[in-house]
């Protein structure tokens, strides 16, 4: 029981990070049907932006009174800057190809991924960069098991962001514009929705959430690396597909589910950790082949 609860907590924590990345994939795919291969690297950039903000504010050794408002600033700045980077990428690399043959934006997205990775590589080098852990330490004793306070904070933080996102999409005018654009771009345009702006906002939100994921990941694992976005991106995309691509709630559920699967494989099977990626990518292929709509998705029309 104890072991199970611990593994579940680890899984949910990893899953929270994957879910935050998966939201960006699923929103972008939902609205322009593009697999944004660069999204994993946008997540890495977000992590590094957070690191820069932390050291600029000198939060590594700050007292708790300064730390909490400081962290709010770090998250806000990193998410905003990363959002703008996402919007810039869309404007420069994807928008000119919106009506091009399908292959073209896909190849550009792969290229953008490498451009970002290359830039981080040049600035930060090929090695692990250490990240301060600014999350509260200590354990919560539940009697039958004890779980880290940090894990609880991460899961609650991610859930909070997801609930906020869902409310934004369901309740606000911009959210309604996003849903309308995803359903039928031309009809939405006829209704007076500014399509370009709506797509830009989608990229902004997706990239901002990825930055939050990147910072949380840095705190939790205390290292960050220029190419971490490739694997994390592919796993998060699996989560988005597993939950039903284009579906925000699905991406969140998919993220947590994939996180739990990865940690259970590593926890319950001897030498399982080295096979977890193989299992996850097999889930990706399996889902696309047998149930391309995922757990919650609706069938997207083949064009």
């Amino acid at each position: 029981m104890r072991f199970f609860v611990e593994q579940l907590t680890f899984g949910l924590t990893d899953g929270a990070i994957y879910a935050l990345i998966a939201l960006g994939y699923t929103m972008v795919y939902g609205i322009i049907e593009l697999i944004n291969f660069a999204h994993g690297d946008i997540y890495t950039v977000g992590g590094f932006l957070g690191l820069t903000a932390i050291s600029l504010l000198g939060l590594e050794h700050a007292s708790p009174v300064v730390l909490i408002p400081g962290l709010v600033v770090v998250f806000a700045v990193a998410m905003a800057v990363n959002g703008l980077i996402g919007v810039t990428i869309e404007r420069v690399a994807y928008r000119p190809l919106r009506n091009a043959p399908r292959l073209a934006p896909l190849i550009t997205a792969v290229g953008m991924s490498f451009v970002l990775e290359g830039i981080i590589f040049l600035i930060k080098g090929p090695n692990d960069v250490s990240y301060p852990n600014l999350l509260p330490s200590g354990n919560l004793n539940l009697g039958f098991a004890s779980i880290g306070v940090a894990n609880v904070v991460i899961i609650l933080l991610a859930l909070g962001l997801m609930v906020a996102l869902n409310a934004f999409i369901q309740r606000t005018r911009i959210g309604r514009a996003m849903r309308a654009t995803a359903q039928d771009r031309d009809a939405a345009r006829l209704m007076g929705i500014n399509i370009n702006r709506t797509i830009a906002i989608t990229f902004f939100i997706g990239s901002a959430l990825a930055a939050a994921g990147g910072i949380i990941n840095g705190f939790y694992f205390q290292t960050i690396r220029f190419d971490q976005g490739f694997r994390a991106g592919l796993i998060a995309f699996t989560a988005a597909v597993f939950g039903g691509i284009g579906n925000v709630v699905g991406a969140a559920i998919g993220g947590f589910a994939i996180g739990i699967i990865i940690d259970f494989i590593g926890g319950y099977f001897q030498g399982g950790a080295q096979w977890s990626d193989v299992v996850v990518f097999s889930i990706l292929i399996g889902t696309l082949v047998f149930r391309p709509t995922g757990l919650l998705g609706t069938r997207t029309q083949e064009r």
Binding site: A100, L106, I107, V110, G111, F114, G118, F121, L288, E302
Partner: protein, 387 residues
């Protein structure tokens, strides 16, 4: 996206016919002279290069050209984005390494395994393709990407069979009967490898050229342009795509066998997305999707950038900044950056080509029209008001 309907097709057919005819007429012979000269130069090249160092570089470049030609079948002809091409290269390499090394004390001849490992790679192409080629194009890209990540990890983890992270060392090398005072052993001498890959390449170019002009090749291009219309004309789209996948994979199987035997070892790390799949994709995209000449030029260019320019450039930059003797310029340490910038360069090539010249450096005339004016997929979508 406006295009006068029905104009492209007859134009293309005429071009294709005149291309075939050109090869045989008197004028055709004159056109072939540069190729003939190039062929002679390529054959004489090892004799002129006394210490064989450049021959070695050329012999290594050869398998990259082969990989690019194979991927061009999938991406250029059939228009399917395969981001896991490294997987088939790895399968070809490991198939040869397992069947021709001390790993299990099996030593089957290189010449038998060359087609066998290509067949094994093609088989895996079919295994992956059969369930997934029904999916839409972008799902296929992500499925192949996933497959490309699974295969090297399986090779890394299946230690009893594949040697795990250490890979397989001591792979057999090709042998020929002794001729003209040469004992027929390839060893570590690059010259026989050079002629071997040259022969494989010439054969492959001949085969692929014939494939392209065959019924199958035309079916690939029809599917690339408009899958629905191709299907309506009686083309079995799944089988046709599957053949593109399998044939593309088989060429990377050839390349893998050659690569493993020349390098003498295989390790799982050399088959990653970053090390192979993207590099080959950049070669194809830069040269010109769908055009063999372009793809070959693209492969040579990228190989040169990767193995020569990026290694030589830091030295040049350092000596240039030292000669200029400008303090801040020296401090920037540009040379250090140059060597590490291959990710950035590849990314910029992919983005830049797609935005500015999607047909590549040396375009296929037909692909150029499609990429500039759009394929009828878009026109159909436009008609239905879906753009």
């Amino acid at each position: 996206m406006k295009r006068p309907s029905g104009q492209r097709q007859p134009g293309f057919l005429e071009r294709a016919r005149s291309f075939e005819l050109r090869g045989w007429g008197a004028a055709g012979r004159a056109r072939n002279v540069p190729y003939l000269l190039l062929g002679i130069a390529l054959i004489l090249f090892p004799i002129l290069d006394s210490d064989s160092s450049q021959v070695n570089v050329a012999a290594d470049a050869g398998h990259w050209i082969l990989l690019a030609l194979g991927l061009n079948i999938v991406v250029g002809y059939a228009g399917l984005l395969d981001l896991g091409y490294a997987a088939f290269f790895a399968i070809g390499s490991y198939a040869f390494a397992i069947l021709a090394s001390g790993q299990f004390h099996i030593h089957i001849s290189f010449w038998i395994l060359l087609p066998v490992s290509a067949f094994i790679a093609a088989l895996f192409g079919v295994l992956l393709g059969a369930p997934t080629l029904r999916l839409r194009g972008d799902y296929l890209a992500i499925v192949t990407l996933g497959f490309g990540e699974i295969v090297p990890r399986v090779f890394r983890n299946a230690t009893p069979i594949t040697g795990g992270v250490n890979g397989i060392v001591g792979i057999d090398q090709p042998r020929l009967p002794p001729i003209l005072g040469w004992d027929g052993k390839f060893g570590f001498n690059p010259v026989p490898y050079y002629y071997l890959i040259l022969a494989i390449l010439i054969l492959s170019i001949f085969l692929i050229n014939n494939l392209r002009n065959s019924r199958l090749g035309r079916a690939w291009m029809a599917i690339r342009e408009d899958e629905v219309a191709a299907s309506a004309t009686g083309i079995n789209t799944v089988t046709t795509k599957l053949l593109a996948f399998a044939l593309g994979a088989s060429f990377s199987g050839f390349a893998g066998t050659y690569y493993a035997s020349k390098l003498f070892l295989v390790v799982p790390e050399s088959f990653s997305f970053q090390a192979v799949s993207v590099v080959v994709l950049v070669m194809v995209v830069l040269g010109g999707m769908g055009n063999m000449r372009g793809v070959i030029v693209g492969a040579i260019l990228i190989y040169t950038i990767q193995t020569y320019l990026l290694i030589q450039l830091p030295g040049w930059i350092d000596s240039a900044t030292a000669a200029l003797n400008i303090d801040w310029l020296t401090k920037l340490d540009l040379g250090h950056y140059a060597q590490q910038s291959n990710y950035l360069i590849f990314g910029l090539i992919l983005v830049g080509i797609m935005l500015l010249r999607p047909q590549g450096l040396i375009p296929s005339a037909q692909r150029k029209v499609e990429l500039e004016l759009g394929t009828s997929e878009d026109s159909l979508a436009e008609l239905q008001g879906q753009v």
